[in-house]
Subunit: 365 residues, 4 copies
């Protein structure tokens, strides 16, 4: 296991879905940071299950209890730890799954990795539930970033084959719009796509199946000059954390894979001075990052979220106890589509990555 | 800067394109590993410029000089350092570029990051040349991996819009074919695509322009059970290193972004026991990794390589010294397409990542 | 703050004396390790306050609550987190101390470091209480080490000027004696020194003052070949952790500072083969470590523990709020001598350091 | 091996005594730092062998070649690497030592650790020669520190039983005196002790033996508020690096082991405001550090340097090839006393540790 991440800002995550509690320690937050806990809870509620018919009917309050590092509404500079007790756990749902390996899930690979000692109940440490502490930590980082003028937003780029329009430019979205996205059930630039997407999700749900999608995350207000090549480019740092989030199978920055079909003359983002003398680029094919370092334009990336592996539809698999083939229908309360709940998680890890990078550069002064 | 990477196997990279030398230190190689230096040099030659009309006409011998950690054909267990002297440098080519920012290149972002003190000649530390030591290190890791039965291969998935077929399965390629790929000018499964791709590259070259493409890398023979979630999943570890490679703008594992258009019942890779009692999956949409841990199928990922930024075609940009708009045509000997030379680099970082992960799991025993 | 330590085994510590809880996350424990919780609690009881007249009369149960990483009596391989709630806290005792800086304590330096935002109540994160989670973690590592035949012991080398005899050799102590030391109020090789030491402590207590001492820690059964020079020698790894323990001001290995008065011919530990063909040394001036690597003899080191800074005796200091001189008598329930309670802490950090090193070498195989 | 150290400033060291070259990469130096190379060479000359009759007669020029990270007299912000070629090597001197284990040296422990593959010639990676790159790196850090008003000095506290007076206070030494110490053959506060110390060394030399001593290092001008508890206290950070230096067996801060014989009322350093309103302490028993954080007084520590292990005097040992007892007289040009040459090394690692800590705190702002 490697539950610790970070250089200048470090987090240490822990917990299993059906254990006593999950939680996170954040080490390296500057002392004296005022934290608005209501906004932290709002971010956590965005990720929580049981919100509507599009997600699992499991209900978890996900109320974090702060154990340390926080006094009189401010960080103390000591490690800040929060835990979330596990309550609404029905372990019996999972007893069957100890030996029958769910296709697409960590059951088999983690069993080999941990020699059968891992807590398999509710996927244990591999449950999506472990992202709740990440959202908690990210919500704190967001408040630090906002003081520096940095805002993080995200929208659903696609569910199955239904697409929203892509983020292009800072000029395209106001901070108010970014905030509004967070209040939508399905955060979209083109809200008229909502019904079509709902339909795709609910049809899969009715079929005992699931669907995936793409999330686009963008960051406004990051100044030029952040990133630590050779090995800790902005892309490396973000991708490292994004691929920690369960179910992510791809990431692309700026124009991403499509840039490979452009010629250099088209792909290169030409510089100009805007009316305020600020350096800007006319296009943003590089997603705000060149040479692994920000150049002042918005950071943009898209992440591919696979369809949830736990489905009631019957699948072929193996029973490792009996050493033979088995058939499986995963009962229980599962998400037909995890995409809307992944948004706040991706925003959170983006906040962690950026705060780590921005503290890091300060260190060089 | 953060020129150090790794947990169990660490590398420390250094050097600038027009400085005295570039190099790398590898820390943590087990003592007593025999190294076939000819095969190391073969890998480095694959990356070297000046090979044919498809790449830059700059010629660099890229001969590594081993300074430490190597005695009588074997590693000693002490840090292994190799350097490559810079020789064929024409610094005058680059004097103009100190103040005129090349679109798509690190000129502007690195200038802000390093307050104008970075070595701008030939892109300095941001030159693709810095990948030569990576290939050196990766070639050593490959020899360690081969002893464990692990083989890494790569082919060009696409140049511009011309596509090769995708890697599907271990059954599709023999080790001989994997080796053959390394000897092709344009490594492809479908060699009949060669001419079409050559044409795309040479047309861009004639236009003073450049083209990008996609590289697909695959790993055969990795046993189930490697990877260190939560934060050091196989995907996180690979993506971190892959995004260190200049010009990479996207990565996807297995079916990648297309998995978002599948339903769970289709995306989930069903398990079965093969005739030898080995656990296999019928499809490999997850690219050999679930829950961040290998499950015994080949690892597969594709990386998006953008078209080289340095083109002779005229572009609009800025002169930061004069603080006003400028026009730029980048003279010199540049690659019209970097994709073929990126292959050995991606194989190399894959080797580094896997060796780090495999040593890491051994540590838990 | 840097509350995270370790390479192969990592710990993340958190908590403040008068906050909600203190705790620790251990990352990297091999899965399937059986843990005898009674023995963990025994170690924690050794460190707990309120045991007898020689220590503070504060009583803390220090009962750890395991939140994760532990199932059916075994580790799961996921991060193992335990917390200890703070209960017997009298914050009012400390209100005065916010502005009046205790000489010898972290009040002033931490106030500057954390810009006045640190939790000053009961010394906050700088309280000796934070060592309770360390003892918890060390007790687990000890059980892993015992499976490898490694035993850690400690005794009081001196209190004030009263000295016990020094550890010389594995032949000197049986495992039973090592265990017995843990049950003594003042663990000594020469138990007849007990009364004299008690007297030194109680006299200081009666005077509203405090005394220090030296703890000698030894490790039996470590095979030759552990340690990771250049930078992670056994001495570096141990010293790093030992100096994390509050009140430690010096450490010496083997003969330590006295070796500087020997000639090489005397200091060098001569090798010989014992009757079983094992390599041994006739003396152990190097404390079991040469070149930063164990050579098969017991590891021995002594750590200097300063007298507790909090005393009722009147001292001159400053009031930083008023910006002027102040007089201070620290009221409350303080230890007149911390040495006996430091023993299990030093054993614990020794266990952490050795387990990290031993896992690390396994990684090289 | 673990040849990499640091958090905010990282170094990666490499090389073996009789290999091609030794060297170091420094990662994280702020860009634009002007370096006076003459002063770097002066520091390296202080450590170099062959200076006078008190040290080995081997002569090494130890001229560093800068490979990267340095342009026009300034750091570029990219990793700075320097190498020193090995020239004056007489490998034949060492052929015997492959199987006959020198008592007190790393021969046996490193042979076990690296399974016999380590380069044993001239002690290989375990040679004191590897400290030359450390002095190079430290000399650069010193120039950064001086810009912040921080000065590092050292003197010989003792050789055998002959003692210099101890450092007490900033008021005791002027910056000129600190500089003068660097020019003495035996740097002492009380220069009248020089002859006595010379005699102790030369007598040992005549006997084919060696002597040890204690080095006292002090740091002037470090402001209050540096250090990263819980795990990266100033003491932990310094001790970690100091114990990387070959031959060091003990370290103590401030009054060190003697503080254990004081009562708290005596040991506590009482605060006062000086005439400029600066916070000072009347004594400095804590060596400038409380709670692991600087409090504005000079940092002081003493390190125990053991007598060199290589002596011509006959010793009993083992021949591991033959598996039996052997007698050994180490021929060659060895130092009878390493203490004077260790001074610049300890100053160098102190500079590295402090720069890492000071950059780290800047990161929190």
């Amino acid at each position: 296991m490697s539950g610790i991440w970070g250089k200048n800002l470090q987090v240490s995550i822990f917990g299993e879905s059906h254990g006593v509690a999950i939680g996170i320690t954040i080490d390296g937050i500057p002392p004296g940071l005022e934290i608005d806990m209501d906004r932290v809870l709002f971010e956590m509620a965005r990720r929580a299950p049981g919100q509507n018919e599009l997600t699992t009917s499991r209900k978890e309050k996900d109320l974090p209890e702060l154990l340390s590092g926080f006094l009189d509404g401010k960080t103390t500079g000591a490690p800040l730890t929060a835990i979330i007790r596990n309550s609404n756990t029905r372990s019996t749902d999972y007893s069957l799954l100890k030996n029958v390996m769910r296709p697409g899930h960590a059951d088999f690979s983690s069993r080999v990795r941990y020699k059968g000692h891992n807590d398999h109940r509710g996927s244990g440490h591999f449950s999506g539930r472990i992202t709740a502490p990440l959202v908690f930590a990210g919500a704190i980082c967001k408040q630090w970033l906002e003081q520096k003028g940095v805002t993080i937003g995200a929208h659903i780029q696609s569910i199955g084959s239904v697409e929203d329009e892509k983020f292009v430019d800072q000029r395209q979205v106001s901070l108010e719009q970014v905030e509004n996205l967070k209040h939508q059930q399905l955060p979209l630039f083109k809200e008229n796509k909502t019904e079509e997407m709902r339909k795709v999700i609910l049809e899969a749900k009715d079929d005992g199946d699931s669907v995936g999608g793409v999330v686009e995350t963008f960051v406004l207000g990051v100044p030029a000059g952040y990133g630590n090549p050779f090995f800790d480019s902005v892309e490396s740092t973000l991708a490292h954390l994004v691929f920690s989030v369960p179910a992510i199978k791809g990431i692309e920055f700026g124009t991403g894979f499509d840039i490979t079909k452009m010629r250099g003359s088209e792909a290169n983002d030409e510089y100009y001075y805007d009316e305020d003398g600020q350096v800007k680029t006319r296009s943003n094919n590089n997603g705000g990052i060149v040479g692994g370092i920000t150049h002042g334009m918005p950071i943009v990336f898209r992440a591919a979220v696979k369809p949830p592996a736990s489905i009631t539809k019957k699948q072929q698999t193996i029973n490792v106890d009996e050493g033979k083939a088995a058939e499986l229908s995963v009962e229980g309360r599962h998400d037909p589509c995890i995409v809307p709940r992944v948004l706040p998680v991706l925003e959170a890890v983006t906040a962690l990555a950026l705060m780590d990078l921005m503290i890091g550069v300060a260190a060089d002064e």
